[in-house]
């Protein structure tokens, strides 16, 4: 089986400081990988390098494109990469405001991505927008409201709908449940799990919340100071951590 994403020796420095270095892994279709680590461990830097939001100093991010097979996305032209970002890739930001247009209606936010891939029929676009609002549990009568009138949890669900409407194959998520209260978190996790399964999505989820990765991720990568210190099956890494830092991380979780 061809990996959907092959990452080789990604390195990113900020001047003399290391953002992340020597990161390599393969992600297969349908797999969900979690990246955990404390603040400043380089996990968000890595995610942004993979998604093309930051330019990596070196390395390869090879994506198995629908049309041409495996291609290094870091060598692609900007328009090609933007096209990928609108079709096969999706990026869910920690703060929904970064991923939404706050002055455009909820339906418009979802419809924009459809129009970007060539959909022009107003009725179809609106119908699909309403369908997706339903899937992320936002009432149909909110379709013409702006996201600024939504709660934080609703904004996050709208961002997910906007991202998934074009049927991407790979979703990058940066702390998707960060800043939400626990009842909203549970709902969002359940929603994400269902969507991942139904659509056969692959996903890379960056989070510092170990409970989130236990529920969502098949595999785990633990980062510290820009380096990957441990990888493996999620439950194995959490229940039988091998590296000193992972042991510290796991044993530091507060019991409820």
């Amino acid at each position: 089986m061809t990996p959907l994403l092959s990452v080789r020796n990604i390195k990113k420095t900020y001047g003399a400081r290391i953002g992340c270095t020597d990161v390599s892994f393969d992600l297969f279709p349908g797999e969900v990988m979690g990246i955990v680590g404390e603040s400043g461990s380089g996990k968000s830097t890595l995610l942004n390098c993979l998604a093309g939001h930051l330019e990596a100093d070196r390395g390869q991010v090879i994506f198995d494109t629908r049309a041409d097979g495996p291609m290094d996305t870091l060598q692609m032209s900007e328009p090609e990469r933007r096209m990928l970002g609108r079709t096969d890739w999706a990026f869910v930001h920690q703060h929904a405001r970064d991923g939404l247009r706050m002055s455009v209606s909820a339906g418009g936010n979802i419809g924009e991505r459809l129009m970007a891939v060539g959909d022009r029929h107003y009725g179809n676009i609106r119908e699909r927008a309403i369908d997706w609002l339903g899937r992320v549990e936002i009432a149909e009568n909110r379709v013409d409201d702006r996201p600024s009138a939504f709660s934080g949890g609703m904004q996050q669900r709208l961002q997910i709908a906007r991202n998934l409407v074009t049927g991407p194959r790979l979703v990058f998520m940066d702390e998707p449940t960060g800043g939400l209260d626990v009842s909203v978190q549970a709902r969002l996790l359940d929603l994400l799990r269902g969507l991942v399964r139904e659509m056969g999505l692959s996903a890379i989820i960056v989070t510092h919340d170990l409970a989130v990765v236990r529920l969502l991720a098949d595999r785990l990568m633990v980062m510290k100071d820009g380096h990957v210190v441990e990888t493996g099956l999620t439950d194995q890494v959490l229940d039988d951590p091998q590296h000193a830092y992972t042991q510290l991380l796991v044993s530091s979780v507060l019991q409820v």
């Binding site: 996790l189 359940d190 000193a244 042991q247």
Partner: protein, 227 residues
Amino acid sequence: MIKLDNVSKSFTLHNQGSAVIPVMTGASLQVDPGECVGLIGASGAGKSTLMRLIYGNYLAASGQILINGVDVARAQPREILALRRDTLGYVSQFLRVVPRVPTLDVVADPLLVVGTPLEEARDKAATLLSKLNIPQRLWGLSPTTFSGGEQQRVNIARGFAHEYPALLLDEPTASLDARNRETVLELISGAKDRGAAIIGIFHDEAARAAVCDRFVDVSDFSPKAAA
């Protein structure tokens, strides 16, 4: 079906003076299809550790753990995931679920991931839940609020939903009343009849005698005994 060869395991506690705690050495055993092997040994002898090693939940230090030809001690995460999805079931002592998911869907889940149609999966889940005496009015609720015994029965139903060729059962009959224990023993016998290879831990002697074909004493694998 399940074959362990010279498996050892130790824990290194880096943050507690790098203490190395050897917990198992030279563990070897084999389970054939249709056979149920009971693990025995005092508390702390390593029965659950051995099960977690077989499930890939703990990383073996050395040795081979072959399940249907896949060496769990060396396999890639996705190979172990595929094994767990299709071949190897595990009923642990604890139920771990996504909050908010109804009991019926929790039980149907292992069937859905192997591609069973939704209706069929839910029917099978309903049959198992009724067998295990979980009242129908609870099926639409999340099991997180259930009593300990109810959660355990949900866990068992989930473990038996898909017909895994290999099963690991960690105290499936603990804290169950006589009627439910009978049902669980019937499920185990049924699984044996269809050819599943089973490793079980049973503290209840009667249950042990009823389903186990032979026993493996885990204390034989403890490092002290070897020294």
